[in-house]
Symmetry: C2
Subunit: 338 residues, 2 copies
Amino acid sequence: MSDKVLLDYGSGGKASQRLIGELFLKNFDNPELRRMNDGAVLSLPGKIAVSTDTFTVDPIFFPGGDIGRLSVHGTVNDVAMMGAVPRYLTCGFLIEEGLPMELLTSVVESLGAAAREAGVWVVTGDTKVVPKGAADKLFINTTGIGEVIVDPAPAGDRATAGDAILISGTLGDHGLAILSTRQGLAFETPVLSDCASLNHAIEALLRGLPDVHVLRDPTRGGLATTLNEIAIASNVTCEIVEDLIPVRPEVRGGCSLLGLDPLYLANEGKFICIVPEAQAEAALTIMRADPLCTGATRIGTVMAPEKAGQTGRVVLKTGLGGKRLLGMLEGEQLPRIC
Amino acid sequence: MSDKVLLDYGSGGKASQRLIGELFLKNFDNPELRRMNDGAVLSLPGKIAVSTDTFTVDPIFFPGGDIGRLSVHGTVNDVAMMGAVPRYLTCGFLIEEGLPMELLTSVVESLGAAAREAGVWVVTGDTKVVPKGAADKLFINTTGIGEVIVDPAPAGDRATAGDAILISGTLGDHGLAILSTRQGLAFETPVLSDCASLNHAIEALLRGLPDVHVLRDPTRGGLATTLNEIAIASNVTCEIVEDLIPVRPEVRGGCSLLGLDPLYLANEGKFICIVPEAQAEAALTIMRADPLCTGATRIGTVMAPEKAGQTGRVVLKTGLGGKRLLGMLEGEQLPRIC
């Protein structure tokens, strides 16, 4: 094959077949993909959870990950958050003509490795190559399908007054890693993206503690935006305590420098877990047993709305004892973060 | 909302919520989407068929369709070809900053209408906005999920010596419609894309005739490439007769003018159907009863390989009585056709 991606690699003809055989099949190999149909036939018992995401992250390789890994982690996590065990991924590559084959190969290898780690199969895909200038290097869409293992499943509208709000670890790492790379900033302690597939941790939690009310990963818009979505859907007040929110010192430092708020920065390997108060300790114990969630901690409590008819809101208890309303992200802190 | 798509419409924050509420929910409304989770929970009995496609067609609006309709038709058809009734779609929008909202609105309306016609629900989605210049206007990924209704399902490797090769209508319409628009050519009789969802026709066929061996839609690479894929997968020779292959006179004329072969042009509303000889007439009768397949006709026969160990091939019997080997598409006739 050429050392650059050519237009006809996406033509559906001979060159496409070669790309599929030599690159995709080799890295994603599994019995369903090997059948080489235009799609996949799958068997899943009971309810299925489905989620889709298009990944546009810039740069393609960043400290702690790359667009290939992120395309697995992001979608696997969204499926897991629905109370499901992710099983399958579809994968749509949109490639700019002239992309070095070496770069594409690295991304595909990385995607394949991340899928194996997460225990999901890439069962079908699509490749489009657009003329130079029509896309910036590489975009990847993944759609994930999983098996729902709890009923009722955790959902954004199930937060209940009295529930404990837990977070699986430090906030802001992914956002700051991308931003500092893009701006060419070097911190004394390098900030790595936290991007990771959380499905094994989530499965342990769901099997150990079947009444988890809400699971959500605070990606774009960060903790503050995701908690607002939950508060609105559940019509509750989420009260979180500033001093309890884990943020690495280097992320805190980078945020001060750049004028960013870590509560609004994207995370790609963390989750919010809302459970009945009585189960908070048990949930934290299960979470901390997973290597990706050793920093799991409680950050707040779900409250009833203060007034009748009030819409859901997020309140931050500051270090000085004051209370501050945290809105959703306004504007765009950082395009192409995922 | 602004009259142009802004970066923060893809931020995951307030503006994203507004876009989802005012545009996507309005046009795709269904109970699952309304739950506004990061994904969908679906129930499907038995085996499911899954297919994914990223649509990059240029221009976005073309004679006979647009990228919104195409994003439904393309994926619905791929799912149907697997012996399934398509039920659900996911939808990932990748938008260039500054795209006129009016254009995005038209595409979304069109996608919503096509989904309703096909009887599928858009159950979850994702929107990314990339800075101006990082993508050319708009790309859409759809992943389709359907319920497999026959067992064994039709598949590319099930063509058997003696089977009849049928086509649901004229070839080359989509490819020529796109190309002539792009080149600013006007024919006396305008050539329209054939883009359409074939799932209702396919369902009637599968329910009426449960032993369909192969169903495939000859999109990129056209009839010749798709038949080659089938011939290779089934290890057979597909013999087709030039004089039996339906091509509109205006497509034939346009192809001569532009030096193109209609057998290699993309179709977006046609399917190849391979059935046992004894069922050929019954299949054609069912197909012709569907308004999209009134021109269904037999174009050839599946043969055993001529020599032992020969790989699958496609042979064209020409009007003059000769035989010509039809290879897969080499190179790229036309980028961004779908």
